[in-house]
């Protein structure tokens, strides 16, 4: 009897082990699938131009052979320091604006009762379905008419032109509304009983509770700025006002238009790494933010 039980125990343990092994195997398989393009980016950034162009391709490089010089080469191709500074400024301002307008309207949609709310919300959602490219031209004319884009544009005007049009986002309003909706009504009644106004309630109760979602919005928005290319190119009238992506795209054309893949990849890495670091540091917040906004319909 004792023996039999022991055997059974062993069988179960093996069953659990095999199941877990399969799960890990599947995860690892997909993880490799995910990681390969990144690896390729990294290894390309470490090659010499000749190695980049060699056939068959070099799949592995001894770290001793890594061409760190590509990174300094990339940095020389454009005033990246200046561009990074601009990007940070634009990201911060645009994000602050976005967060404020998003909080206010998400609150209105999630908590206030007003005529036409659902209709307006549907209209908001519908605009997400129109390709944003079609907005660019009109918006360019608009910011020019406002006076932010002119040949004697100041830095301040350039920043306004790059930020104001992006200080609101329907996607984020949608996102935050979901998070706000999960906050129980009772809290609102309690605040009312305590004599709090809607305004106080929003900033003292709802916003603190929704901080994970707001953090998520902040990061996503900053990322958009990081990848923005067409708009900054169009509305800046001086090289000094531009953003990192402009540097990336402009800097690596040689005279005859050849692309310097290794330096371009190095530059891609340079601009992506801050994002990845920010992402890793704030991963927990993002996860929480996402779960808050998604789980309730």
């Amino acid at each position: 009897m004792e023996q039999a039980i022991y055997g059974n125990e062993k069988q179960i343990k093996r069953k659990i082990f095999i199941r877990l092994a399969i799960v890990y195997a599947l995860i690892i398989f997909f993880a490799i699938f995910i990681i390969i393009p990144f690896y390729w980016m990294l290894i390309t950034a470490m090659k010499t131009l000749t190695q980049v162009e060699s056939a068959p391709p070099i799949l592995w490089l001894n770290p001793a052979e890594w061409q760190w010089v590509n990174f300094s080469g990339a940095l020389e191709q454009a005033p990246f320091l200046r561009f990074t500074l601009n990007t940070v400024v634009v990201a911060i301002i645009a994000t602050i604006g976005t967060v404020i307008t998003t909080i206010l309207s998400a609150f209105a949609f999630a908590r206030l009762n007003f005529k036409g709310r659902d209709l307006l919300f549907m209209a908001f959602i519908a605009t997400m379905m129109i390709p944003g490219e079609i907005f660019v031209i009109t918006n360019y004319i608009t910011v020019s008419r406002i006076g932010w884009v002119s040949l004697d544009q100041s830095y301040f005007e350039a920043i306004l032109a790059m930020t104001v049009p992006f200080m609101t986002s329907i996607f984020f309003i949608f996102f935050l509304r979901q998070a706000f909706k999960t906050i129980p009504n009772e809290l609102y009644y309690a605040a009312k009983v305590d004599g709090k106004t809607d305004w106080q309630y929003l900033w003292r109760v709802m916003v603190p509770i929704a901080i994970p979602t707001i953090t998520t919005i902040t990061i996503l928005n900053a990322m958009n700025t990081w990848n923005a290319y067409i708009w900054p190119q169009l509305v800046t009238m001086q090289e000094d006002y531009r953003l990192v992506s402009n540097g990336l795209r402009n800097a690596f054309d040689d005279t005859a238009g050849r692309i310097m893949y290794h330096e371009q990849m190095a530059a891609s890495i340079i601009v992506t790494v801050p994002l990845i670091i920010a992402f890793l540091l704030l991963k927990k917040y993002i996860m929480r933010g996402v779960s808050r906004s998604g789980i309730k319909g």
Binding site: M1, I5, N8, E9, I12
Partner: protein
């Protein structure tokens, strides 16, 4: 189906490598076809025990037998148990019918047959008319019954209930506990339930197991345990209002509280703890055991006297007497103690003497 727990032990290991012994060497037999309550304060290991019986937790040591079969290594899905969770764990996206039929789907029962079976069980627990509702549309008591129906529908060998009444309001609780009793009796399934509420356990169990910090204190029929608590903990835990505790001593074969001689006791002289049930006092004309009444509560046929402790003005004890006695606060009353309502425990160990 008789259930035997042999030296059952569960040790939880925290992340910091700290070990907590939740269940310690439990060795009990749960009789077949009866309703057994696992009783104890929170953290006593009763839920852990239940989950080990269900198979969801694996014991660190010891064995579990269903009848003669050692089920210790058997995974929960093969044990043939029904489990009702404390918060019912009803699938929110399924209707009552779908919830009840879910276990049958898993054993690939014929659709028509399982529909009939589900209806039958639902009728048994009295929710046959709610089959198309979603759990959210049901009251707590109804949800509770759905959970029971779901546990019963596959005719389990054992039915396990985890704090089945704790989420219900007082009135529903009374109603539901009768219902559980009835269902258990009608089905005759060996049923184990877990509760921290002694009244609940006493009222419906055929047998109770009192647990404390993972260790069995006493096993038996509720009234038996109530009448003959094995130790101070059991005495204190069972009964509302709770038993009154006095410091006392045995002197020359007499049991004394202060200088009042309560009863004759044939044990060696020593300090003891005396427990007297509130209903164990008998008002008499003459007795050395006397004290001043502080408050009087009359509820229906009974009167509860809250009486100042004879030796300690700051403490009170309760006595339940017939409402016929006209006692006012401030009166001094004299008692005798009914011998079978009085329990004497070792001052140190708390064991009954």
């Amino acid at each position: 189906m008789e259930i035997k727990l042999k030296n059952l032990t569960k040790v939880f290991q925290s992340k910091k490598e700290e070990e907590t012994v939740a269940v310690d060497n439990l060795d009990i037999v749960i009789p077949s076809g009866q309703l057994t309550g696992l009783l104890g304060p929170s953290g006593c290991g009763k839920s852990t025990t239940l989950y080990m019986i269900s198979g969801l937790l694996r014991p660190t040591q010891g064995e579990i037998y269903f009848g003669d079969e050692n089920v210790t290594p058997v995974p929960p899905e093969e044990r043939g148990i029904g489990l009702v969770f404390q918060n019912y764990a009803l699938y929110p996206h399924m209707t009552v019918r779908q919830n009840i039929m879910f276990p049958l789907e898993n054993v690939k029962m014929d659709k028509q047959e399982s529909l009939e079976k589900a209806q039958e069980i639902a009728d048994l627990v009295g929710i046959g008319h709610l089959m198309n509702r979603k759990p959210k549309q049901l009251s707590g008591g109804q949800q509770q019954r759905v959970a029971i129906a779901r546990a019963l529908v596959k005719s389990p060998r054992v039915l396990l209930l985890d704090e089945p009444l704790s989420n219900l309001d007082a009135r529903l609780r009374l109603q539901t506990r009768e219902e559980i009793k009835r269902i258990q009796r009608d089905t005759g399934i060996t049923t184990i339930f877990v509760t921290h509420d002694q009244e609940e356990a006493m009222s419906i169990s055929d047998e109770i197991v009192v647990l404390r910090e993972g260790v069995t204190q006493q096993v038996g029929r509720p009234q038996e345990v109530y009448n003959n608590p094995g130790n101070l903990f059991v005495a204190k835990f069972l009964g509302t209002p709770p038993i009154n505790i006095f410091d006392g001593e045995v002197k020359d074969g007499r049991l004394m509280i202060g200088d009042a001689d309560i009863a004759k006791k044939d044990i060696d002289d020593r300090e003891v703890t005396i427990g007297i049930r509130p209903e164990g006092f008998k008002m008499v004309e003459r007795s050395k055991f006397k004290a001043e009444v502080d408050l009087v509560e009359t509820i229906g046929r009974d009167t509860t006297l809250i009486i100042k402790h004879p030796n300690d003005e700051t403490q009170t004890f309760r006595a339940i007497v017939d409402a016929d006695y006209g006692v006012e606060p401030g009166d001094t009353v004299k008692f005798n103690v009914k011998p079978h309502k009085m329990h004497i425990f070792d001052k140190e160990t708390g064991e009954v003497l």
